[in-house]
């Protein structure tokens, strides 16, 4: 495969990558969704790159077609920069936390030209390297390291540009700085190999960082960038210093030889005349040199001045010039061989590119001296051009690459001839020496880099052990803690982190936290148990309270004179309301309803005691007033907590329907009148609630129940039931709903009223106990009083 073919393929591959970019560009343009900021940036950058690429390709085509390989390699480097830059764009466009939702996978697409370019550039290097393949590979390793840094740097450039827009992350600022440097180096100094490796490196890094979102990779990236940068700077500084000093030494040595030669030449007093004569008569001199003539001694030749030479006859002049030439030529050859020089010659330059040769230690192919032969930088070789330029003693080390045009040659100017010709005495540094030394320096640099990379790895390991490993352990511990909720395991795990720094204190805080969590959980559990216990006790209390009230209906099967029904409905588990009924003797039924101040357990306790006191006192006989007066006294005796109960109590004579009753601050009961309509008792003489006033007297009054008449007792929970708007149910509403019982049973009446209240209250919360008692008298009505 010829170089031209290689360059052609490289050119084609680069064109392909340009096409891929074009494709991406079009796909973004045609994107259906609204274009965001990222898209617009992508478009802007792509357009500029495409314009650049097209211009560059157009410029490079003539070079390419003429097949001037040297120039084409330069151009290839420029064009090759396009996929390189495209890769940078991709890194920018598909930063790790972004999503490329257009189906194309730029990372995969870009791999093709990247690999192709890599292979081609590597081949080019091997073909056009005057060194061995191994040496080329060695320099490839160095460039590979450079490339990795560029790759990471490019990746970060992409990220940072976006991250800095979104948030200000200090972590990314440092890599951004390095990235900019790296980009600068790549653009202005990078070789083709570094470029190719850089691209593949970028793709790999992007892939890795998208796949593994690990701290160590991110930190590692930064550390590597920093170390590689340091390595690059240091390595270059060291190399540059060492190589420059070596070159200066070489130069000084050669310059010394030049000076010796110059001194020798200037020993000829007729030199200004000789230079002109040599230049004018090269052929005659050559002829005369071939003839074996006697040469005068050097001392004699030195003495002859310009004026003397001019006064000689033509034949004498030729003899003199040839003799001098022979002496000097001999000196040239002697110097050349003695010091093992690369070059030694004297030329008269006409302009920058050509001139004529006077002396050259090397011979022409036919073995004759080169006197009078022309030199042309294009026709001869590149080396000649160095001697034609005014670059005396200037030597450069250019970033680890050997260039064919390196300025290793230099010259001394001779005094002007009579015609004003200024001859140049030239030499060059011996290439083999330089290359040998360069290889040595490269090895040295490579070693230094290797050590620095090892240090970077060591730093990473230390970072891993100090930060990442404890963090990972904590994460694992937390995960397990989620499952087993075992703080002991957590603290035993956390004890493995023995550091005394922030990580260590974090671990111990975490351990303490889980301990706290356990205590808290236990407390909550304890509270829950307590709550459960209280709830079950309350249920039992409610059970006791319910069973303390007569709850078997029908209650008196053997008493046809009446039908009674009652119900209690506490707002909380236990209530402060109660009802009661019992026969005081064969002919009398005592019935009562009471409402204790407040609700809940205190009210229930008080209620039980009031109930029992009334019950007990009633068994001893007496009217309700007597009973209430007596109970009131008993309660007031020990009532620091000022509990009180409103009580309405009546005793029904089963034979007559007459009820003797007394009221201790309770709601007036409702009874049915002759029209079978419920109304509140008008003549209700009431006293204070039981327990309120010590020594209070209660008085009886009498009501009559006619046959099939009802009396309805209730607590304020009934009339003060509230609808969602907070309106009371009210006594009027109650009476309305009680009306027209039509011979119904007391149970039916109470159930009906309940339903009515329920539908009134709807879903408003009920705060008060609700208790009702209904008695239907079925006995004889006392005809006349």
């Amino acid at each position: 495969m010829t170089a031209k073919e290689i360059v052609s393929i490289s050119f084609i591959m680069n064109s392909i990558s340009v096409l891929i970019m074009l494709g991406l560009f079009i796909s973004v343009v045609l994107k259906k969704e609204k274009k965001n900021k990222k898209d617009r940036i992508f478009l802007a950058v792509t357009v500029s790159v495409l314009i650049y690429a097209l211009l560059d390709t157009a410029v490079s085509i003539p070079d390419f077609t003429t097949g001037s390989i040297q120039l084409t390699i330069q151009t290839e480097r420029l064009i090759g920069f396009i996929p390189h830059f495209a890769c940078f764009l991709m890194a920018l466009y598909m930063r790790p936390d972004g999503e490329d939702n257009r189906g194309l996978k730029p990372s995969r697409l870009i791999t093709v030209p990247v690999i192709a370019d890599f292979v081609l550039t590597a081949t080019l290097i091997v073909i056009y390297s005057d060194r061995s393949f191994i040496s080329a590979a060695g320099s490839g390793v160095i460039t590979a390291i450079n490339i990795l840094s560029y790759a990471i740097a490019y990746y970060y450039v992409g990220i940072c540009l976006f991250e800095v827009w979104k948030t200000d992350r200090v972590l990314f600022l440092l890599p951004t700085f390095f990235a900019c440097l790296a980009v600068y180096f790549t653009i202005f100094m990078g070789g083709p190999l570094s470029k190719a490796l850089l691209m593949s490196g970028a793709v790999v890094y992007i892939y890795v960082s998208r796949k593994f979102r690990s701290l160590i990779i991110r930190i590692g990236g930064i550390v590597l960038v920093m170390f590689i940068f340091i390595t690059l700077v240091m390595g270059n500084e060291i190399t540059s210093a060492a190589f420059t000093s070596y070159l200066v030494t070489l130069h000084d040595r050669n310059d010394e030889h030049l000076r010796e030669t110059e001194d020798y030449i200037e020993s000829f007093a007729a030199l200004p005349w000789l230079v002109d004569y040599w230049e004018d008569n090269p052929e005659k001199i050559k002829e005369r040199l071939l003839a074996d003539t006697k040469i005068p001694s050097e001392q004699e030749l030195f003495k002859i001045g310009v004026d003397e030479a001019e006064e000689m006859s033509k034949e004498e002049q030729l003899d003199f010039a040839a003799a001098c030439y022979k002496s000097i030529d001999g000196f040239f050859v002697w110097q050349f061989e003695l010091h093992d020089l690369d070059d030694l010659f004297l030329i008269i330059p006409y302009d920058e590119y050509d001139g004529t040769v006077l002396f050259d230690a090397k011979r022409s192919p036919d073995g004759s001296v080169k006197l009078g032969s022309d030199f042309d930088v294009f026709e001869e070789s590149f080396e000649w051009s160095n001697y034609a330029r005014e670059t005396e003693g200037r030597m450069h080390w250019t970033w680890g690459t050997y260039k064919e045009s390196d300025d290793f040659g230099f010259y001394r100017q001779m005094p002007p001839s009579r015609r004003g010709r200024v001859a140049r005495l030239c030499t060059s540094l011996k290439r083999s020496d330089i290359y040998e030394h360069m290889d040595f320096i490269s090895t040295f640099r490579l070693t230094a880099m290797t050590y620095l990379i090892l240090v970077a790895v060591a730093v990473l390991i230390i970072l891993y052990r100090m930060i990442l490993r404890p963090l990972l352990l904590m994460r694992e511990t937390m995960r397990r803690y989620h499952h087993d909720k075992d703080p002991d395991k957590v603290s035993s795990d956390m004890e493995r982190i023995t550091q005394k720094d922030e990580i260590g204190s974090f671990a111990s805080e975490f351990s303490l936290l889980t301990g706290e969590m356990r205590r808290y959980t236990q407390e909550v559990e304890l509270l829950a148990t307590d709550k459960e216990r209280v709830a079950s006790e309350l249920r039992m209390a409610a059970d006791i309270q319910n069973k303390a009230l007569p709850s078997k209906f029908p209650a008196f099967i053997d008493k046809p004179e009446f039908d009674i029904y009652a119900s209690m409905n506490p707002a909380k588990e236990v209530g402060g309301d109660f009802y009661d009924f019992f026969l005081t003797d064969e002919k009398h039924l005592a019935f009562l309803i009471a409402d204790v101040s407040d609700k809940g357990i205190p009210a229930a306790l008080f209620m039980m005691s009031v109930k029992n006191l009334i019950d007990y006192r009633a068994q001893k006989g007496g009217t309700p007033a007597d009973i209430l007066t007596s109970v009131n006294d008993q309660i007031c005796r020990n009532n620091e907590s000022k509990m009180f109960a409103t009580v309405w109590m009546g005793i029904l004579d089963l034979d007559t329907g007459i009820v003797i009753c007394a009221n201790a601050g309770h709601e007036r009961p409702a009874i049915t009148n002759s029209n079978e309509e419920f109304e509140l008792i008008e003549k209700d003489k009431h006293g204070p609630a039981v327990g309120m006033i010590p020594g209070a007297k209660y008085s009886d009054y009498e009501i009559r129940l006619h046959h099939k008449g009802y009396i309805f007792l209730y607590t304020d929970g009934v009339i003060e039931a509230k609808d969602p708007k907070g309106e009371f149910y009210g006594a009027d509403n109650m009476l309305l709903n009680l009306s027209d019982p039509e011979d119904a049973s007391p149970k039916w009446i109470i159930d009906t009223l309940y339903d009515s209240i329920d539908s009134y209250v709807q879903d408003a919360k009920r705060f008060d106990d609700m208790t009702m008692l209904c008695l239907k008298y079925l006995g004889e009505e006392e005809s006349t009083q």
Partner: protein
């Protein structure tokens, strides 16, 4: 909720809203420690629309304290509450001065 005006040994308390099972404990708690050195306690019921037996008990407890150190009276008691007080015989215990 509970407005208090203290003038030497006279304390005027103006509760706002109904005094029932839910609000009475709040009222009692609000009065805690307020009665030290008070000779006259005035309960202004202007903004109390309704009172339940729990509220009555709270007043009863205040009355008990004031019986030992001075006097207490209720003012601006509305008709509904007056009726309730009448029903449970509360006027025998507390002084209501609606003028």
């Amino acid at each position: 909720m509970l407005q208090k005006i203290k003038d030497n040994d006279i304390l005027t308390v103006k509760p706002e809203g109904a005094l029932d099972t839910l609000t009475s404990p709040e009222f009692t708690a609000g009065m805690e420690g307020e009665l030290d050195g008070i000779k006259t306690l005035i309960l202004d019921f202007e903004k109390v629309p309704y009172i339940s037996s729990a509220g009555v008990r709270a007043i009863l407890l205040l009355q008990q304290t004031m019986d030992n150190q001075g006097s207490m009276k209720l003012v601006h008691v509305n008709e509904d509450i007056m009726e309730l007080f009448d029903t449970i015989g509360f006027f025998n215990v507390v002084t209501v001065d609606n003028d």
